[in-house]
């Protein structure tokens, strides 16, 4: 996979390493281990073996006849929901846990929003016998209590974060504080294409398996590349993973769908690319929801996994360069997308994915009947079912 305009540790103007000095040697070590691993056939073989026999890859590419009929164009679904643990997150945690083991780190730290990344981290830590500590906002623990229990079942310690907005942003800050304190024996598995270099590149690298597989599957099943590739964007790892397979195909449109929360004009949303300005948070320069004083706004989304005021720096680069376009879908539309994919295709998507479903469903007439659309189903919706039911949302 080629890295677009990666100048040292940057994507255009974005990215970088804005971290306390204490972490710089650890990031150097990680970068060295990553670059060595990516050139090492043994690492590649170990990683692929786990993806095949533990995660269950390749994930299928499903056609979606009834959604296609509604949209007026063939819609294809890349089924990351069918991975072990039910989301794309495990592609990255398997890769990073292998790296941690090579670096001799015995303790793993992670942050989680919806809990999918926390579960994927706890899973691979159980398999490798690594100590696992997951930081999770108190508010998210309430919204996603089932995932908290899953992590605990697999032996992880889940630490409630009570500072700030008690969501993903604050869990990430707390995980960084842990890492600064325990940097010698701990590896921090960041769950998205965010954070200081080399994390955005590394997570993209591990998630790009989604894009590579779906490109081959599209050529085989649909007989052509997609006209558009659509994925939800919080931090942006599933989107970056699937975009990576098509970024060099100039004829393929890349669309990231952000969470508009209660509406882009409400001030309560998570649409960093649509409404943010460049700023520095959690180690990198990227689009950010912030006030005029450089204070970070609390994000909002119905979906805990998109509830983050920043975004991966490579997305900022793709936005400014015009290679990708970013749109936003609000909470209500996302709930419709959630119900729609469930009813039309028998696939209950994660609320995160539901944003991308909703955007596609609203675009009837945008594509000709022979222009395929590829949607990344980043995760399954089991984790969201009780939340949606409690909101009183009735089946259509």
């Amino acid at each position: 996979m080629t890295a677009p305009a990666l100048v040292r540790d940057r994507f255009g103007a974005f990215g970088g390493r804005y971290v306390p000095e204490t972490l710089i040697p650890a990031l150097d070590e990680l970068e060295g281990a990553l670059d060595a691993a990516l050139l090492d056939p043994t690492f590649d073989a170990e990683w692929r073996d786990l993806l095949t026999h533990y995660v269950g890859r390749p994930s299928p590419l499903s056609d979606a006849p009834r959604l296609s009929e509604l949209v007026g164009a063939p819609v294809w679904l890349k089924r990351e929901d069918l991975n072990h643990t039910g989301a794309h997150k495990i592609n990255n945690t398997v890769g990073q846990a292998l790296l941690a083991r090579r670096m001799g780190k015995s303790r793993i730290i992670a942050e989680t929003g919806a809990g999918q990344h926390g579960v994927a981290t706890a899973t691979i830590c159980a398999r490798f016998g690594l100590e696992c500590v997951v930081y999770m906002g108190e508010e998210d623990m309430r919204r996603q209590s089932l995932n908290v229990y899953r992590m605990q079942l697999m032996g992880a310690t889940v630490v409630p974060v009570t500072s700030g907005t008690r969501t993903l942003k604050d869990a990430t800050t707390e995980a960084i504080r842990d890492w600064v304190t325990n940097v010698r024996d701990s590896h921090y598995i960041i769950g998205s294409v965010v954070g200081p270099a080399p994390y955005p590149r590394m997570v993209r690298e591990f998630q790009s398996v989604i894009g590579r597989e779906s490109r081959a599957q599209m050529l085989e099943r649909a007989g052509s590349l997609p006209r558009s590739v659509v994925a939800c964007v919080g931090g942006g790892s599933n989107a970056m993973g699937i975009f990576a397979g098509f970024v060099d195909d100039a004829g393929v449109e890349l669309v990231g769908v952000e969470a508009a929360g209660e509406g882009l004009e409400s001030g309560r949303h998570s649409a960093s690319l649509s409404r943010g300005t460049p700023g520095v948070l959690h180690g990198s320069l990227s689009y950010l929801l912030q006030d005029g004083q450089g204070q970070v706004y609390p994000a909002h989304s119905i979906s805990a996994g998109l509830d983050y005021p920043g975004v991966g720096p490579e997305h900022s680069y793709l936005k400014d360069s015009g290679r990708a376009m970013y749109v936003a879908v609000d909470d209500g539309q996302a709930l419709e997308g959630f119900a729609m994919l469930s009813r039309l295709e028998g696939i209950i998507p994660a609320l995160e994915t539901a944003h991308a479903v909703a955007w596609i469903a609203a675009q009837r007439g945008r594509w000709a009947s022979n222009e395929p659309v590829l949607l990344c189903v980043s995760g399954r919706g089991d984790k969201d079912v009780s939340q949606v039911r409690e909101m009183g949302i009735l089946p259509l």
Binding site: E21, P25, G164, T173, R177, H282, G294, Q295
Partner: protein
């Protein structure tokens, strides 16, 4: 850049301390904590208590290098609506005779715009220290800060290799801030066991004065570290004392001053 040839107030202060064989007492407070009015009184109380340098913290919403005490003070300051302009107004109003170093995360500085360094200098600030802008992270912005009117104070960590210490020292002015241990800001019972080794390695890398911070809170710790370094930085303990009142912060400053002067 050598400390002995500089004429900025920060370097002059350290030269004067060195001549009299005294150690520097650097005290930290968060601007806007306990509230904007008391903040100005607190700056003066720290000066009156015997501080050589005051680090004025710019509140930030996501202080990833700070422990609970400074996090809380930042939050309080933000609730009082304290932004960069208010921080500078407080420094200006305090009209201190000792050097002032701004202690900030990068984002509020970037948001304050390209004239921020000049404005800070005009308000009575002499140096700037940025927690999340390590040497080499952003050469363009580092050059902008380095070329400005403020002394760009850089941090060294216990994990920093000695060749990188040299690199950091080359880009720093005023003094080098040595982080005493792994972790975030906050009070600790003991001084890190590898601190003497870190100081010794840093001495081989720089002629700049070395001030040690993170986890320093008592007179006994001040003495132990003052025997090895050129100064100490006390943050969370001052902030916590200030929560009890300006008098408590003043008393702690006096205690630390006496401890350092009795080495």
């Amino acid at each position: 850049m050598s400390a002995t040839t500089s004429s900025d107030p920060l370097s002059l202060r350290f030269e004067s301390l060195a001549r009299s064989g005294r150690r520097a007492l650097v005290t930290y407070m968060t601007a806007g904590h306990p509230d904007p009015v008391q903040s100005v009184a607190l700056m003066r109380a720290l000066q009156d208590g015997g501080a050589d340098v005051i680090e004025v913290g710019v509140p930030f919403s996501d202080p990833m290098a700070d422990g609970p005490v400074i996090q809380r003070s930042s939050q309080v300051a933000l609730e009082h609506g304290v932004g960069f302009a208010q921080v500078l107004a407080m420094v200006h109003e305090a009209a201190l005779s000792i050097p002032v170093v701004l202690f900030s995360y990068l984002n509020p500085v970037l948001a304050a715009g390209p004239e921020v360094l000049v404005r800070a200098s005009e308000a009575g600030v002499h140096g700037v220290l940025l927690t999340d802008l390590p040497v080499g992270a952003d050469p363009e912005r580092e050059a902008w800060i380095g070329a400005g009117p403020l002394a760009f104070v850089r941090l060294v960590a216990p994990t920093t290799p000695v060749d990188r210490m040299r690199e950091i020292a080359r880009h720093g002015r005023g003094f080098v801030y040595l982080i005493s241990r792994l972790g975030v800001t906050g009070m600790q019972a003991n001084v890190a066991s590898d601190l003497p080794d870190s100081i010794a390695r840093l001495r081989t890398a720089t002629d700049l004065p070395i001030c040690v911070g993170f986890g320093v809170s008592t007179g006994a710790q001040a003495q132990a570290i003052g025997r090895l370094a050129d100064g100490i930085v006390v943050g969370s303990a001052i902030v916590q004392a200030a929560e009890r009142g300006i008098d408590a912060a003043h008393a702690l400053t006096v205690e630390l001053r006496q401890a350092l002067d009795n080495i």
